[in-house]
């Protein structure tokens, strides 16, 4: 089991303390996750920039130990 959901959530929260992070284990195998991240830091950022910020928070794990993370991001709704 390469990464636990809590571990992913922890890395994202460490970088974006105000974030709402929702993680689903898609296949129940600890290897296929979907994450939804909402933080005020995404305001005014493009989707590509928002995803890059999350990948940076995961510090090189994305595309490595973390193969399957379906990511959706958004700034908070006012």
């Amino acid at each position: 089991m390469p990464m636990k959901a809590k571990e992913i959530e922890g890395l994202i929260r460490a970088r974006f303390p105000d974030a709402e992070v929702t993680i689903r284990d898609l296949a129940g195998d600890g290897d296929h996750y979907a994450a939804h991240v909402v933080t005020s830091e995404f305001k005014g950022k493009s989707r590509v920039q928002q995803h890059k910020m999350v990948y940076d928070a995961l510090d090189g794990r994305m595309g490595g130990v973390l193969h399957a993370l379906a990511l959706t991001t958004a700034p908070p709704k006012d």
Partner: protein, 116 residues
């Protein structure tokens, strides 16, 4: 090939083709679910595109990640600009934004249809 040569090749490929998809497998035989989804979306939109199978070359597979500064495959380029990976392309498609982008960039495609 040096990293410089790989980046030059990628730069030339995305400059010389309106739409390029760096993917695992080919458009007719994708070998990864994420690559397959993007190929399906482009097929659905009737977009002509150049596919680059990163499984054919470890140099390109690593090179494209550094070139775009993006950690995963697939990667879609339109008119030389990185548009996104699988999640972003799917979201854009569902929101009608991908269609809008193709329109703006003058890329031939099928008329807009509601997504399933």
């Amino acid at each position: 090939m040096s990293q410089q040569a790989v980046h030059d090749w990628i730069r030339k490929t995305v400059a010389g083709n309106d739409v390029v998809l760096f993917m695992k497998g080919t458009k007719n035989f994708p070998q990864c679910g994420f690559s397959s989804q993007v190929a399906q979306i482009l097929g659905h939109l009737g977009v002509e595109y150049q596919d680059v199978n990163v499984l054919d070359s470890a140099e390109i597979r690593d090179g494209i990640k550094g070139f775009t500064n993006w950690p995963t495959i697939p990667q879609l380029y339109v008119k030389g600009e990185f548009v996104g990976g699988c999640d972003i392309i799917r979201e854009m498609f569902q929101a009608g934004e991908l269609h809008q982008l193709l329109e703006e960039k003058g890329i031939a495609h099928h008329p807009a249809t509601m997504t399933a």
